[in-house]
């Protein structure tokens, strides 16, 4: 019998990690909260094994990622359609449709640029955000991402490339002259 109080401590310890993993894939806070709830309910059903193992965080991340991908697959046809419409039929890039950073964003010049990066990431269309997160954050290979998302390898590469370009284009005006950004970019060129 699982002690609910013990489980509540567990939830509070891991809720930020689970929620962050979910929202970076699905971008919608309400969906991310629903998915996080499902993850913890699965964790409750397997709590005896999870609490004994040393890879609780890994287990939670994997379950969260799988539930998010299931969630996204329900809308896959839609976002694949949008992605193809944006990039192939009309010859436009998502990055061109992103609004210029508004006054609220400009006021964040002084704020941590990671906050901006986080916000820019959540603004990316799912077709670009999901593979970008799986590649850079979850460290999956292109082939694994293609298999998980059920798309071709070339599409994964294209979407990741476009996602990076969109992030860069979105961030640059806000951070132009920001020494931390320049420093980071120069560091990576060195």
């Amino acid at each position: 019998m699982i002690d609910p109080n013990e489980f509540e401590v567990f939830v509070k310890n891991y809720q930020d990690m689970v929620f962050t993993t979910a929202i970076r894939l699905v971008s919608n806070p309400a969906d991310a909260e629903d998915i996080s709830q499902q993850v913890f309910l699965k964790a409750y059903d397997h709590f005896d094994q999870i609490s004994m193992s040393g890879s609780t965080g890994g287990w939670l991340k994997t379950v969260t990622r799988n539930l998010c991908l299931n969630h996204l697959s329900r809308y896959r046809a839609r976002w694949r359609f949008f992605s193809e419409l944006d990039s192939e039929e009309h010859g436009t890039e998502f990055v061109d449709s992103l609004p210029a950073p508004d006054t609220m964003d400009q006021s964040l010049v002084e704020a941590d640029y990671r906050e901006l990066l986080n916000r820019a990431l959540l603004k990316l269309p799912t077709a670009q955000r999901a593979p970008l997160v799986l590649f850079h954050v979850d460290n999956l290979a292109y082939e694994e991402i293609a298999a998980q998302l059920g798309v071709s390898l070339s599409k994964v590469k294209t979407d990741i490339h476009r996602g990076r370009a969109a992030l860069k284009k979105y961030l640059t005006p806000s951070l132009r002259g920001d020494e931390r950004w320049e420093e980071k970019h120069n560091e990576s060129r060195a």
Partner: protein, 148 residues
């Protein structure tokens, strides 16, 4: 250095180092409400729990009983009705008589109305469903192209 490679490395590092976001305050209470409800349900006697969590023997017994009742209801009701008609009047024979009468009615309705039309109706429903999907898809695509 290749600028694409620079950008790749930069995002690789920066995205990995992004701080965790705060979960909504409502998340933990929502989870715990379901967990406490589950814990309470688990302590309830088996017959108050969902059917899927009943012991195997109880599920099997209920399944057999349901099959018996259904077969009696649909096929044995006419025979039962005859037997009840000839039996002495008691509360039990009255109950069986009502049961047999409802069974006969249901069997008759099934054979004369539902069964002949069932396949036709099913076909019509499937065709209408496909037409709806086709229309909505066409409207969605046309609307989306106009927005673009």
């Amino acid at each position: 250095m290749n600028p694409e490679h620079d950008l790749n490395e930069l995002f690789d590092r920066e995205l990995r180092e992004l701080p965790l976001m705060k979960a909504p305050r409502s998340l933990a209470p929502r989870v715990m409400a379901v967990v406490r409800a589950k814990a309470a349900a688990a302590e309830a006697p088996w017959w108050l729990q969902p059917w899927s969590q009943w012991p195997m023997y109880a599920r099997a017994a209920l399944f057999v009983a349901a099959l018996l009742i259904a077969s009696l209801f649909f096929s044995g009701s006419v025979v039962l009705e005859d037997q009840v008609r000839n039996a002495p009047q008691t509360w039990f024979s009255n109950l069986l008589g009502s049961f047999a009468a409802y069974g006969s009615t249901a069997t008759l309705l099934w054979q004369k109305i539902v069964q002949p039309l069932f396949l036709t109706r099913l076909g019509v429903c499937i065709a209408m469903y496909l037409v709806c999907i086709g229309l909505v898809t066409a409207m969605y695509r046309v609307g989306r192209e106009r927005i673009q």
